[in-house]
Symmetry: C2
Subunit: 246 residues, 2 copies
């Protein structure tokens, strides 16, 4: 047993500083440093992970960049933010209600919208004909000014003609649906996977490259069971968790 070593992996395609940053981020989220409100000293971390102090410093600088910690000379590295947002997934899943009390300010921004023809996959999900008109909305959701999800949603275009304007006004899918006469909808199914962040998601969610995204593919239907929305949403994995209550 190599005493204190905590398994970081060399030559893995993932730099040591990033592995360590990920581990410290997790430890913070798990409340392991709640007693002091500080990350352990760099020398101690270096010893625990079996790396040089410089490597730990690179990791802490990345976390500082993300706004998770703040290094103060002579005091240590203070923890700035340790919450992990919890999203319940149920038949009545709604984004803004899901956040609930966990954040004060909630916003929904419309990044882009388009009217196009349904691909085979989208048509299958929404149970419409291939090539039928659909609306696609690219949205960004924030809680307390921090981005928490980036979604791409598809809707049957004929049924929800004024949806884009309704969403832009309200910043809420639920409100937009209601404005168009759909009073209620239910979550039919949710698929959950995880990938490395890439592309525009990195910029929109303000992540450092290499971050992990939780990906949900969700289907919502009206009370008759007719699909009204198919959405692919990406959440920064270190900021959120999902809870399925049965």
């Amino acid at each position: 047993m190599d005493s204190g070593h905590q398994n970081v992996h060399r030559q893995s395609g993932v730099a040591l500083w990033r592995q360590i940053a990920d581990r410290i981020r997790m430890s913070i989220a798990n409340g392991e440093y709640d007693a002091t409100g500080k990350v352990p000293p760099e020398m101690l971390l270096a010893e625990q992970f079996g790396v040089n102090r410089h490597t730990v410093r690179s990791a802490l600088q990345a976390l500082a960049q993300e706004g998770i910690v703040r290094a103060v000379q002579g005091r240590g590295t203070l923890i700035e933010r340790k919450e992990r947002l919890n999203f319940p997934i149920s038949r009545r899943t709604r984004f803004s209600q899901g956040i609930g009390e966990q954040a004060r300010e909630k916003e929904g921004l419309l990044l882009d919208s388009a009217r196009l023809s349904a691909s085979a996959e989208i048509a299958g999900r929404l149970a419409i004909e291939i090539g039928a008109p659909v609306l696609r909305l690219e949205t960004l959701r924030k809680a307390d000014r921090r981005p928490v999800s980036r979604s791409t949603s598809w809707f049957p275009a004929e049924r929800f003609a004024g949806l884009i304007e309704a969403y832009r006004d309200s910043g809420s899918i639920t409100a937009a649906f209601q404005a168009l006469g759909l009073q209620d909808y239910l979550r039919v199914s949710t698929e959950v996977t995880a990938i490395h962040a890439d592309g525009a998601d990195l910029a929109d969610l303000q992540l450092s490259p290499g971050a992990i995204l939780l990906v949900t593919k969700a289907l919502n239907a009206d009370s008759e069971g007719v699909p009204v929305q198919y959405a692919v949403s990406r959440f920064p994995a270190d900021m959120v968790q999902f809870t399925i209550e049965n």
Copy 2:
């Protein structure tokens, strides 16, 4: 618009070859290459990702190592395995039933077991006194000889005294419970997060370091609602997805 470029990120702490490997793995899982059964030629991929051919080759070699593709000189890089196991999460979630027809051979291995005192967290989850005796089982599940999950489970020790032997014999929690007189149990809640794989999980799940794990924290209870098992399970994110049917 920088024509073909598909967003890989330099100096991010994640090597380009790994980012590209992740992307190709996703594309395979999404069936994007089903028409040919092959990955596009190295030169084309290099152009699409805006990297050197060598970098693409490193990515493909990593995927070959995982058994996902096989390169043949003169023919191309053939896709060997494209399935992604789907795990339904519901009130009746059971591992072996969940896999169902998706795999022929299913195994459950007991890696380690211990009888210890409940920590504050475990006591809270199982609704028992802090310090009360609990059994902890470390298990590895396989489907068709490939590891698909690594779990750490806690059980109230008094109620399930012979559990360790019962699990070792059957390789199934459901069967072990039944052997001890518990005919039925239900999933109360499931939390889902994602992290980078580290430590023993890498070896046990036969992953290359830097891989992503989907992590579930699940609570099972008997029909009276009394907690019978709390389990933290880790799944290779590129092999599985979860489905929540409401």
